[in-house]
């Protein structure tokens, strides 16, 4: 039964908004030693959202707010991943925040606002909704990067992030306005219909497409729009880096799917944006991997490695069919899993006054804590793409899609670049296993963070031995959402 305005598909977002307001107010009445209440409320909110998302999932696309908002299977899966990732990130971050006087209400409220923005992006069926979500997410993230306001590195990173982000938002809006001009609508499904009917002005449309792709490149962090990534990753406090590098990637992926997969997914347009994505993917793979070799700061190295991983995601997307999109989605899920684990390890090793963010800080970890060294080993081999870790299957899926699309040279380039990648990931394994420890102190992380770290590391292995469920989920949700 269809209401005039059925709200239920947006229940998770509405609940989240309500809870953010509640937490904002409640936090005023919480003293510093009881800040754990805010933390618990935040976690409970995310779990509540997850339950609501699960309950409102129907498997069919449901539109509401006059077609501006959609709840389909892809959005449900991506939202659940977003909550899960954020819950894990918050558990990892707790000790770090507490020892650095960052364990405050602002952090949690900003994170939740960013999540709200992501949810809106993921579920957008209208260019304006998409833009609204994007800006909400970005503004919250700019502020959280600058959370440590007396740190010059952090403020510089936030400044750079903000200026470049504003620039890319401008380009995106420009592109959207051109698409509006060409098709006469901003609603994503209607744009696709108009193009299919042949009623769009091709020239303006392609012009708009270029700007949209540039905006996508920025949000994803693909070369040549990657300048902000290394600075933000290195400059932000590690928990914020973890937030920036995990859940927003799901939102960015949804963003790509909505714009390129749905709105501009017509065959003649795929051929147009495919060329642009090829260029971005190649540059990302080459620049990301080669620059990462020279880094000594682990966070910065991971930033460049992220750029190269985004190159792989683009490889999947540029195939331009269901198989390629689901390969891209699988890759991004796997990437976030590995990324959370790796940054989580940095948080696990850090303690009051010690950041553990240089590669050398991992020296001799195998002698200090064989178990967590093993977890990190799994994560690093997964990033390299060596079976039996899940990173291999992510690469396999993407390469299959690329070869299927007829880009043999791209597949060869991608595997050669992952060989370059192997070198710097192996360096981490090398310092952990082959070098003697510089600092023999035992790990001081909380028990819950340790447990989760073990689950995270073993998940990389378990999903590598049995990758089928996750692969099938990605394929199925993309298929159900993009007809």
């Amino acid at each position: 039964m269809q209401y005039i305005l059925p709200l239920w598909p947006a229940y998770p977002e509405l609940f989240l908004l309500l809870m953010v307001c509640v937490i904002l107010v409640a936090d005023l009445f919480v003293s510093d030693e009881n800040r754990i209440v805010t933390y618990a409320l935040t976690q409970a909110t995310l779990i509540g959202c997850a339950i609501l998302t699960y309950l409102t999932a129907t498997g069919e696309p449901v539109y509401t707010f006059s077609g501006m908002f959609v709840d389909d299977l892809m959005s449900d899966v991506l939202k659940l991943m977003t909550y899960l990732g954020t819950v894990v990130v918050l558990v990892y971050s707790r000790t770090y925040l507490a020892t650095r006087d960052l364990f405050r209400g602002e952090f949690f409220v900003l994170v939740l606002f960013a999540i709200l923005g992501m949810l809106i992006m993921i579920s957008a069926n209208h260019m304006l909704t998409l833009y609204l979500g994007l800006e909400l997410m970005s503004l919250a993230l700019y502020a959280s990067v600058a959370l440590r306001r007396d740190s010059p590195v952090a403020t510089e990173a936030a400044m750079k992030y903000f200026v470049l982000g504003a620039l890319s938002s401008g380009m995106l809006l420009y592109g959207m306005s051109m698409i509006y001009g060409a098709t006469g609508t901003l609603e994503i499904t209607r744009i696709a219909e108009t193009i299919a009917e042949g009623a769009a002005t091709d020239f303006v449309l392609i012009f708009g497409l270029v700007f949209v792709v540039a905006g996508i490149g920025f949000k994803l962090g693909a070369v040549p729009f990657h300048m902000w990534i290394p600075d933000v990753y290195q400059g932000a406090p590690t928990p914020v880096t973890l937030i920036v590098s995990s859940a927003p990637k799901f939102a960015a992926f949804a963003f790509i799917m909505r714009l390129l997969g749905q709105a501009l997914g017509a065959e003649q347009l795929v051929a147009e944006w495919q060329q642009m994505l090829v260029v971005m993917a190649v540059l990302s793979l080459v620049v990301g991997n080669i620059t990462a070799i020279a880094q000594t700061n682990l966070k910065r190295m991971l930033a460049y490695s992220t750029i190269s991983h985004m190159g792989f995601v683009l490889l999947g997307v540029l195939a331009g069919d269901i198989v390629g999109y689901s390969a891209g989605m699988f890759y991004i899920v796997v990437y976030v899993l590995m990324n959370i684990g790796t940054f989580g390890m940095i948080l696990l090793l850090s303690r009051a006054g010690f950041e553990a963010e240089n590669i050398d800080d991992f020296k001799g970890l195998n002698q200090r804590s064989p178990w967590y060294a093993f977890m990190m080993l799994l994560l690093m081999f997964s990033m390299t793409g060596i079976p039996p870790t899940v990173g291999f299957y992510a690469k396999l899926a993407v390469l299959q899609a690329v070869l299927d699309a007829g880009y043999l040279w791209l597949a060869v380039l991608a595997v050669m670049m992952s060989l370059v990648g192997a070198f710097y990931y192996l360096r981490i394994v090398k310092v952990m296993y082959f070098d003697p420890p510089v600092d023999g102190s035992p790990l001081t992380a909380r028990e819950d963070a340790r447990m989760l770290m073990s689950v995270n590391g073993l998940a990389v292995l378990a999903l590598g031995i049995l990758p089928q469920p996750l692969m099938a989920l990605c394929l199925y949700s993309i298929r159900a959402s993009l007809q």
Binding site: I386, A422, Q468
Partner: protein, 498 residues
């Protein structure tokens, strides 16, 4: 009844599970437990492979002990296992060697014992997986997974230059195998979505695409074998690896390359294999002759044996690409024999190294005066390495030369040099290390091998002699699969012109 048990799964997973248990013993305080557990696990791993030999029907065609379960349905990848005579022998060799390696590392490894033992058990299970896989992607997954434990083994327990050697090993072999991944995915796409080897064997391919795929495969397997000129990682890896690592590397890991040629290159791209056979044979003969000469001038015992491995593996690739029954069968027997002999030689060097902490030939001399039992066993393995009749080393080389003679006299002529070079470098090293007067005070203090070392070397000596005197049990399981492969290769699979 034997056919019903998932024997191949057991051969793969028993060592891996044992490895996990060993790893769980944790720190070096529990090292004795880890050692015993590892020994039990490796023996169990060997025992579960014995019914494979007992239950194998040498007259039957096709793969036996098949297991088929869906694994990754999205890509139609199956957990598909099965063996023929070739894989059977390699699985037995692998599981047997693992037991020896565990025993050989018993007292020698004192740091991070559990991790050391576990790494070898993992490696053993994974390599059994390579030999048993009948799905190309499953094969590749196992093939690549071997890199991780070996990287750790070389890097953690290796010599002074271990970091360089470990990284070189990893990156070199990864570089080779990455293009194979692309080739396999390409085959998946053109075959309409199948990684099953049986489907890929049937798939018609034009010569041009066959050649491209052959080159991709060739890079992976030639690096692994290793063939001249992509062999340079091997001397480094061997010299720096701990004794156990060198043994497994020489005895089994190199065979992954030869096995890859047999299982993937020859049947999937038979026409390209024949088209490019001359090229591969040329490289093989260069390995046999040139690397034989290189081995002659080595002053480091491990390096010498490493080069001798390359020369002997040249025989294997020569045998594979002359396309007759003797060549192929000889190549497989040579692989098995080389597994025993090179493993034994590395163990012998390990025995000396544990005592004197030197691998330089010049630091030794007159060892026979202090270690007569050891000298006798070492002598046997040195003879086997130089291909003396009556030892296992003779059988494979002789059959391959016989096969080569049928094809081209000059192939056989060039290959025959190995009998001279092999004898020269092995026996000359043996003479300098073992014979003569006692060279220095360190040698004067040497003690002969203990029971543990005697057990390891003695077992290998029995196998080497048995295989040399009565190779039939090894050869009989090979006839049918070798002929089947040759028939398939000779048919070719270029699609008829449209």
């Amino acid at each position: 009844m034997l056919q019903d048990m998932p024997l191949l799964s057991l051969a793969i997973w028993v060592p891996i599970v044992a490895g996990l248990l060993v790893l769980a013993t944790g720190s070096d305080r529990h090292a004795p437990v880890a050692r015993v557990l590892a020994l039990v696990g490796s023996i169990l791993g060997f025992v579960v492979t014995l019914p494979l030999y007992a239950g194998y029907d040498p007259a039957a065609h096709g793969f036996q002990f098949g297991e088929l379960k869906p694994w990754i349905e999205t890509f139609n990848i199956n957990y598909h296992l099965g063996i023929d005579g070739i894989s059977l022998l390699l699985i037995l060799l692998n599981s047997f060697t693992t037991v020896l390696v565990i025993i050989a590392g018993w007292e020698v490894i004192r740091e991070r014992v559990a991790q050391y033992m576990a790494a070898f058990l993992f490696l053993s299970g994974v390599m059994n997986g390579v030999f048993a896989a009948l799905d190309a992607m499953l094969f590749y997954v196992f093939f690549e997974a071997t890199l991780i434990p070996m990287f750790i083994i070389i890097g953690v327990w290796g010599g002074p230059n271990r970091v360089y050697a470990a990284l070189k090993f990893f990156l070199y072999t990864l570089m080779g195998s990455l293009l194979t991944l692309v080739a396999l995915i390409y085959l998946y796409n053109v075959s309409g979505g199948s990684f099953a080897l049986a489907d890929l064997y049937r798939l018609p391919l034009t010569l041009a695409s066959q050649v491209a795929i052959f080159i991709a495969f060739f890079l992976a397997f030639a690096v692994k074998v290793p063939m001249w000129p992509v062999h340079t990682w091997l001397p480094d890896a061997h010299v720096e690896a701990p004794t156990g690592g060198s043994v497994v590397l020489a005895a089994i890991m190199l065979k992954l390359g030869g096995y890859g040629f047999i299982r993937l290159s020859l049947p999937i791209v038979p026409d390209a294999s024949q088209y490019l056979a001359g090229f591969v044979i040329a490289l093989s003969l260069i390995a046999v002759v040139y690397i034989g000469l290189v081995a002659l001038v080595q002053s480091d015992m491990k390096k010498l044996i490493a080069y001798s491995s390359i020369a002997h593996m040249g025989f294997v690739t020569l045998g594979l690409f002359i396309f007759n029954a003797q060549g192929l069968e000889g190549a497989v027997i040579q692989m098995i024999s080389h597994g025993f002999v090179s493993g034994a030689l590395f163990l012998c060097v390990g025995v000396l190294y544990d005592r004197l902490h030197s691998r330089q030939i010049a630091d030794y001399g007159g060892v026979v005066n202090r270690m007569p039992v050891f000298a006798a066993l070492f002598m046997l393995f040195a003879m086997a390495n130089s291909g003396l009749p009556g030892t296992s080393g003779f059988v494979g080389e002789f059959i391959v030369i016989l096969g080569a003679m049928k094809v081209n006299f000059w192939y056989a002529f060039a290959a025959g040099w190995t009998l001279i070079f092999g004898a020269a470098y092995t026996l000359w090293m043996y003479k300098r290390v073992i014979f003569g007067g006692v060279a220095n005070t360190h040698v004067a203090e040497l003690k002969d091998i203990n029971l543990r070392e005697f057990l390891v070397l003695g077992l290998l000596a029995v196998v080497v002699l048995y295989m040399g005197l009565y190779p039939n049990p090894f050869a009989e399981v090979l006839h049918v699969p070798v002929n089947d492969i040759l028939t398939h290769v000779m048919q070719g699979k270029i699609p008829a012109a449209q």
